[in-house]
Amino acid sequence: MEVDGLDGTTDGSQAHAMTKVVLIEDDADTAQDICAELRDSGYVVDWAADGLTGLEMARAADADVLVIDRMLPGMDGLAVIDTLRREKIRTPVLVLSALGAVNDRVKGLRAGGDDYLSKPFAVLELVARIEALLRRPADTSAKTLRVGPLEIDLIERSANRAGREIELLPREYKLLEYMMRHCEQLLTRAMLFEEVWKYKFVPDSNLVDVHMGRLRRKVDASGEAAMISNIRGEGFVLRAPD
């Protein structure tokens, strides 16, 4: 692997032994569930129930990712993010909110959040997004991306698997590029739709699955080991064959 996952991440529970998440969430039940799930995934989690405490925790600087609820007692979530960004603290932030409207999403991202997830969400979706935030900035100067036998040329926008040329439509290419930049990660349908298609709404039909199906048939030709796998009900993962 040349780009992402240089730490050789293969299994969540070992990979994040030192990864710390600071969760700022005022609802104790929700926080408890999220903490438990994140700890199961191998993260160290600190929880703050209000904005000010959370801000202190976030400033303590050993956090790798912040998960911040928008509506908080004491200090609003967006204000916390704004304060951190003013203090040049660039820890990636995932904004949580009960407000799911598009405008709120835009506001959350504009305030300095890196991703936005509206409640109610599947905990898996949350973990997948945290994962994606931790793996962020990929090497943007690279001309090619490689995952196992699969390689794409970022300039020519072409792909091949172990020398076998793969014909891709522009949309399929974009999808594949995104997956290669986030290989070994669970990518949920919503994430793909937001990031690859850049649409502001999530259609209720299984559009993503259909597009993914097409891509998969091209990437994993018959007789080849499967690289794209569909984690039932959760999303998709691209990984090098064993």
């Binding site: 409207a101 405008n103 649409y199 709404f201 259609p203 209720d204 039909s205 259909v210 597009h211 199906g213």
Partner: protein, 457 residues
């Protein structure tokens, strides 16, 4: 502040305000009258002084020449009794003229002074306040020349009368007006208080009384009414959202509950429980998606028009929707074709229009049986630009269409239409936001159209 105290406050303050205003005006009027009086009388005095100095000068000159023509003239020609004139011996005894005795305080060959002059004529006597001057003549006798300051007093009288007959009625009038005004204000505040109480009690249709005038209280009432309108709309919207959500969530939640209940009683293996939780989660997800869709519709309905509007190329837009759904249609063995007979641009929110058309195509793909066709077309019909999504599915019953049409066209809010999914409601909301027209027809299948009126581009 309670209403009773508010009334007290307005009453008192109105009254105080009027009194203060009145006193200020009174002081100003008095000051200007007094100023006018003082100025006028000073002018008059110096004018009279000049006059008597001049007269006495020429009389003194005449006396040197040995005659008193002008003195006698002055005595004779005083029909209005303005000019006290007299000759006195150096000792102060009267020699001739109409002045009875030497005026108190008058000194010889000094500047004119104000003096009380005792005058007399045939059959009358009077004390006349005058400017007076005494000059020694060449023969040693003393000439006294005066000029009544009666005009001056008249001015003072005018001022005095002005104050009495002008200010007093003005004060009474002002007092009456302020009492009237305060009473009126109080009455209006009482009215407002009653209306406000009704509104607080839950009658949101009530408004504070207004008279469409420019007075501050009326302005305030109008502002409050504007706020009430806004609040009423919000409350109604919230209530509507609540109704919609409650209505739409009952079914999936009931299903989830039954499923879980059954699993609790009859599931025995972990696999059976797993299957039950999966079904329950799917049900909850469905419920969540309904809430999301309803909120989205509400959000679109409340979006300010033109906020994110720009020029949108419709041909490009429907081609992109086609690309997005083509694999999906193919999966279902449907032929999805996009026709762009014309090029057209409209002013609109590209993301929302995309969402609307995607929704129509999504519906078509979902409801059209295998082997069917879906046509997405951009065409010009009767001068209007129309985006039409046509499928070969079961279409829609006539009566249902009527119902849909009514909801979409007549109602202010594009209410959720039961049984047809939230997709069409969403489309209707987006179309409405743009000022376009949403049509639903049946022509072999379901035919949905977004009509851009001629002036809508």
């Amino acid at each position: 502040m309670s209403f009773a105290r508010l009334i007290d406050w307005v009453w008192n303050s109105t009254f105080r305000y009027t009194v203060v205003l009145f006193v200020a005006i009174a002081v100003a009027v008095m000051a200007s009258l007094i100023f006018a009086y003082v100025n006028t009388s000073r002018e008059l005095v110096s004018f009279l002084d000049g006059l008597i100095i001049q007269e006495s000068d020429s009389m003194v000159a005449q006396a040197k020449e040995g005659h008193l023509t002008q003195y006698e003239e002055r005595l004779r020609q005083d029909p209005r009794r303005y000019k006290p004139t007299g000759l006195f011996a150096p000792t102060g005894e009267r020699i001739s003229g109409n002045i009875l005795r030497w005026p108190a305080g008058l000194e010889v060959d000094q500047a004119p002074i104000q003096a009380e002059i005792h005058r007399f004529g045939p059959g009358w006597k009077m004390i006349q306040p005058s400017r007076a001057l005494a000059r020694r003549l060449s023969d040693g006798t003393i000439l006294v020349v005066g000029w009544s300051t009666k005009d001056n007093e008249q001015t003072a009288l005018v001022v005095e009368r002005g104050l009495i007959f002008g200010l007093l009625p003005a004060f009474l009038l002002g007092l009456a007006a302020s009492l009237l005004f305060a009473a009126r204000t109080q009455r209006r505040i009482r009215e407002m208080q009653l209306r406000a109480a009704e509104i607080v009690a839950g009658d949101f249709a009530r408004r504070l009384p207004t008279r469409n005038s420019e007075d501050p209280l009326d302005k305030l009432a109008q502002i409050v009414n504007g706020m009430l309108d806004e609040i009423q709309t919000l409350v109604e919207n919230l209530a509507a959202i609540g109704d919609d959500i409650a209505h739409d969530l009952r079914t999936p939640l009931a299903r989830v509950r039954i499923g879980l209940e059954r699993a609790k009683h009859s599931a025995t293996t972990p696999e059976e429980f797993q299957a039950a939780t999966d079904r329950a989660m799917a049900g909850v997800d469905h419920a969540i998606s309904i809430v999301t869709a309803l909120l989205r519709i509400r959000e679109i309905e409340q979006t300010r028009r033109f906020q994110a509007f720009g020029s949108v190329d419709l041909a490009e837009l429907i081609t992109e929707v086609g690309e997005l759904y083509e694999p999906f249609a193919e999966e279902k063995k449907l032929a999805l074709t996009v026709h762009t007979d014309i090029q057209a641009s409209v002013q609109g929110d590209r993301d929302l229009l995309f969402e609307a058309i995607a929704n129509l195509v999504d519906n078509a793909v979902k409801y059209t049986p295998e082997g069917g066709r879906i046509d997405v077309a951009l065409a010009s019909e009767g001068g209007h630009t129309v985006i039409r999504v046509r499928d070969t599915g079961p279409g829609i019953a006539e009566n249902e269409r009527e119902l849909l049409a009514q909801r979409f066209y007549r109602s202010d809010r594009s209410r959720h239409t039961k049984g047809l999914g939230l997709g069409l409601t969403l489309v209707a909301a987006i179309v409405k936001l743009h000022g376009f027209r949403f049509e639903i027809k049946s022509g072999g299948g379901f035919v949905a159209g977004i009509v851009v009126p001629q002036d809508g581009g």
